[in-house]
């Protein structure tokens, strides 16, 4: 019954080669250069690393704080216009990041209404702008995952806890949250990874200034035409992070 033609195997190998060969080539080139160590400690790489860690951490915190209530509402409540809200949450997932960058610039730039409201000089071209761009493109990953997580929690368990006298906050903290935890963690990791890789919206809305707004992907772009090995070193770091993240997610899912 489960007979497949033999030629399916080499055919299935092709996409794997497409994914594998470039990553392998990059790693070989990086180690062959022999300057990987000194490139990783160079100021450009170190500053990009620092900016990336700082901004993605902030972006994740903002996303979790602002995204969790929205995810809970989307999972539990019905209200007019819910379809519209769902579409809005999904939009950044399919929107080209360059469009997000232009849109953010129009909204929070120096000559925009909102930008002038927050700060006389607008928010663009600052570390805050980097975080904002990352939240814009990455938050939907968390919100989607968290919504699914909250939907999966058995409401009867919450009702039992409430009937035994637990306050709403306590029910949420001790029943809902632990049960939705794997989804929340997986969503956070996806959100953080997407923020770490953010390029298009950042370069358009936040610019590229070493030590302030130049994150790792932007530093790779800047280093390509000057110091090639630094671009390779940063790429290696990002590949390593991505692999660790995928392994981590798998572990969380298994635990669930």
């Amino acid at each position: 019954m489960n007979r497949s033609p033999r030629w399916i195997w080499p055919l299935a190998l092709l996409p794997l080669l497409l994914f594998g060969i470039p990553l392998l080539a990059l790693s070989v080139e990086a180690f062959k250069s022999g300057e990987l160590g000194s490139a990783i400690t160079s100021p450009l790489v170190q500053e990009a690393l620092r900016v990336s860690l700082l901004t993605t951490t902030l972006a994740l915190i903002v996303t979790v704080v602002l995204g969790t209530p929205l995810a809970w509402i989307l999972a539990r409540k019905d209200f007019p216009g819910k379809a519209l809200v769902n579409t809005l949450v999904d939009l950044p997932l399919v929107l080209p990041p360059a469009v997000a960058g232009v849109a953010l610039l129009m909204a929070f730039g120096r000559n925009s209404v909102l930008g002038g409201f927050f700060l006389e000089d607008g928010l663009a071209f600052s570390t805050t702008a980097v975080v904002l761009a990352q939240v814009f493109v990455a938050a939907p990953f968390y919100i989607r995952s968290a919504t699914t997580g909250f939907q999966g929690v058995n409401i009867e368990l919450e009702q039992v806890a409430a009937s035994l006298g637990a306050s709403k906050i306590r029910v949420f903290r001790e029943i809902t949250l632990p049960l939705a935890r794997p989804a929340l963690v997986a969503g956070s990791v996806m959100c953080w990874t997407r923020a770490l890789g953010e390029f298009g919206a950042t370069i358009m809305f936040a610019g590229s200034l070493p030590g302030k707004t130049q994150t790792m992907p932007l530093a790779i772009y800047a280093a390509m035409e000057s110091n090639w090995v630094e671009a390779l070193a940063l790429s290696m770091l990002l590949i390593l992070t991505s692999v660790l993240v995928l392994l981590g997610i798998r572990k969380v899912k298994h635990a669930a």
């Binding site: 730039g109 120096r110 071209f125 610019g207 590229s208 200034l209 800047a222 035409e225 000057s226």
Partner: protein, 237 residues
């Protein structure tokens, strides 16, 4: 089933259709020459109907990188001689060509009221320039070297972004996101500029990358064209 075949046929025509008969020429050119080259392209293709001239514009450093990585360029117009010097393959022929000037452009209406070099010390001003590795960035650094070191440092510390090419720099100025930006005089358009800053002349370099009649014709036609002055370039002898 018939319409699917038609759709595929239409797609193929659209994608591969018109390029079959013409010979294509690749001109890699510094982004500051973009508008002038758009006009040049039309004129050149009228003179040589059998040729499809394709202009690829961007930062000269990036174009050089692309050429070194195997991109096919017949002629390379670089914003400085350095990028041509550093090509991994020596060009067939090269010549210093268009001259330009690195200036400090000001935002529309000059809201920061920058009237002289002294005004650049004002705290809170926002500047932008190209990154060091891009010719426009290197010229900007030259400009900064010629002012008082304290002023130079103050401007550098107020730099809001190091852009990947000079047109990205201009975009930030056009949007009014910054008060002043380092760009080429020909890039200014209607924007004002600082008049009493140092004078930094810039020199473009034209390089012929392959030796064939069509590429040679392009190399010569570029130099013989008279439209450069209309766009503010100075043709160096």
């Amino acid at each position: 089933m018939k319409w699917q075949w038609r759709a595929i046929y239409g797609f193929c025509i659209l994608t591969f259709g018109c390029s079959s008969q013409e010979q294509s020429l690749q001109l890699f050119a510094a982004s500051s020459a973009r508008e002038a080259l758009t006009e040049f392209e039309v004129a050149f293709e009228q003179q040589h109907p059998e040729v499809d001239l394709q202009v690829q514009s961007g930062a000269s450093s990036r174009l050089r990188f692309q050429i070194d990585q195997g991109a096919r360029a017949d002629v390379f117009l670089s914003a400085n001689a350095d990028e041509v010097n550093h090509l991994s393959e020596t060009p067939v022929a090269r010549t210093p060509w268009l001259r330009n000037q690195m200036v400090l452009g000001l935002a529309k209406g000059n809201p920061a009221k920058i009237r002289s070099v002294q005004d650049l010390m004002k705290p809170g001003l926002r500047f932008v320039r190209a990154q060091d590795t891009v010719p426009a960035g290197a010229y900007a650094l030259e400009w900064l070297d010629q002012v008082d070191p304290r002023l130079g440092a103050a401007i550098q510390s107020n730099m809001r972004s190091l852009e990947s090419n000079v047109r990205q720099v201009r975009a930030k100025l056009n949007l009014g996101e910054v008060d002043a930006a380092f760009l080429y005089k020909t890039d200014l358009g209607q924007l004002p500029m600082l008049n009493d800053g140092p004078t930094v002349h810039t020199q473009m370099e034209l390089a012929l990358m392959v030796d064939n009649p069509m590429a040679n014709a392009l190399y010569t036609a570029l130099q013989e064209s008279t439209l450069w002055a209309d766009y503010g370039f100075e043709v160096s002898p």
